[in-house]
């Protein structure tokens, strides 16, 4: 691979691993959500994310040119090869925690995809243009639900505040640019993550205000997910379940 393709491959894995890991996490709710409408909404969100994964990892495999497929990347890589944000691999917790995680991600995802629709790499822009339409629905719903539960009963309010406090340290990683991010921004392939922060913060302030929730003041950021340097212990457990069939029966197909 040429250097530019190598960078593009890494970036596509970051995008595809985010949607794959979160899509799998959200799918864990299938059949378990508090009410039928929420079960359906979660399953649909998971489905969109897995569909987007097929596009991101499909392109990653094509750029890599080693004969691997999107499925190979999803099911045959181990923890250290995953490039997703730490936020998306965090366990579901209760319904409120799942929705809080979703909103914190969706709000970033929408801004990122909007930036990517202007990418100088046309294949990236095409995928982003497709995905952004779906993600607009995701963020609309997760924001509404955060508001509904935050500004709900004392029990739901307390749980949402706890979820926000728990997940807040994972927000920073989305906006800290590393060498790859800077190179991609330079080449016009992806927006500089730091440039998305102001709009993200403004959106969060509005939603958390309506939800009567308090944004934590700490700026501390847990890092190591998108670089692959250090995932949390949760990812390995999730992959053990997600990849079990392909590992036990190599090459199995429907």
């Amino acid at each position: 691979m040429e250097a530019r393709d190598g960078q593009l491959f890494e970036f596509l894995c970051r995008m595809g691993d985010n949607t794959l890991v979160l899509g799998h996490r959200v799918s864990e709710w299938c059949g378990h959500a508090p009410v039928l409408e929420e079960d359906i909404a979660l399953a649909n969100t998971a489905l969109d994310l897995i569909g987007q994964t097929q596009m991101w990892l499909g392109l990653a495999a094509e750029v890599e040119g080693e004969g691997r497929s999107a499925n190979d990347l999803a099911f045959l890589r181990d923890v250290w090869d995953f490039r997703n944000l730490l936020l998306v691999e965090q366990p579901n917790g209760d319904f409120g925690q799942t929705i809080m995680r979703q909103f914190l991600f969706d709000a970033w995802h929408l801004l990122m995809l909007k930036g990517l629709t202007e990418s100088t790499e046309p294949r990236v822009a095409e995928i982003a243009t497709k995905a952004v339409k779906e993600v607009q629905y995701h963020v609309e719903r997760s924001a509404d639900t955060v508001i509904g539960l935050g500004d709900g009963t004392s029990e739901s309010h307390a749980r949402m505040q706890k979820a926000l406090d728990l997940l807040w340290p994972y927000v920073g990683e989305m906006f800290v640019a590393d060498a790859l991010d800077s190179a991609l921004a330079e080449a016009g392939i992806a927006p500089d993550p730091a440039s998305l922060r102001a709009e993200y913060d403004a959106h969060l302030e509005t939603v958390m205000g309506e939800a009567t929730l308090t944004l934590p003041e700490s700026g501390f950021a847990q890092k190591g997910g998108k670089s692959g340097a250090q995932h949390s212990e949760h990812l390995g457990h999730m992959l053990a379940q997600m990849q079990w069939l392909q590992r036990a029966y190599p090459g199995a197909s429907w």
Partner: protein, 152 residues
């Protein structure tokens, strides 16, 4: 002799959508192009939602329908750009959706009226529904829940 593309479009207009069988894959606007490349018939299909499980079934149904008509050499191409939009639903498709009990998409972001009793007093239950392309609404007049084909 190979059939002309106009005739092929007519054949494809008889292939039902697997989830909403009252409309065809052509009504849905997901068949983007039909063209001969030598002796190979190329059909470009665009997915509605990127994870929609019906997409692969649709590709198979198109292939089967064409084979039944004697076209053996077929290539189905997935085309994601420009992305599918509900603006591509045909007028015939919109009318059939409503007859079937699904409110057709509208730029205003919600259904014009209840597909059952035609009352305009409708409320949204959830932005997500039985398939990725639909939302759940309810009529305040006849109290029936119904699907709304949401705009994208």
């Amino acid at each position: 002799m190979r059939p002309g593309t106009e005739e092929i479009w007519r054949w494809l207009d008889a292939v039902p959508d697997p989830e909403i069988p009252v409309i065809s894959v052509v009504d849905l606007g997901i068949v983007r192009e039909v063209a001969w490349a030598g002796d190979t018939l190329e059909v470009a299909v665009t997915p509605t939602y990127s994870g929609c499980p019906a997409t692969s079934v649709i590709a198979m149904d198109i292939e089967t329908a064409l084979r039944d008509r004697g076209v053996g050499d077929i290539r189905i191409k997935t085309q994601i750009s420009p992305p599918w939009t509900t603006d591509w639903l045909s007028e015939k498709g919109r009318a059939r959706l409503e007859e079937y009990g699904i409110a057709p998409p509208r730029a205003a972001g919600g259904p014009e009226r209840c597909p059952h009793c035609h009352s305009t007093q409708v409320i949204r239950i959830s932005q997500f529904g039985s398939t990725p392309c639909k939302a759940q609404w309810r009529c305040s007049e006849c109290l029936e829940p119904f699907d709304y084909f949401k705009c994208i």
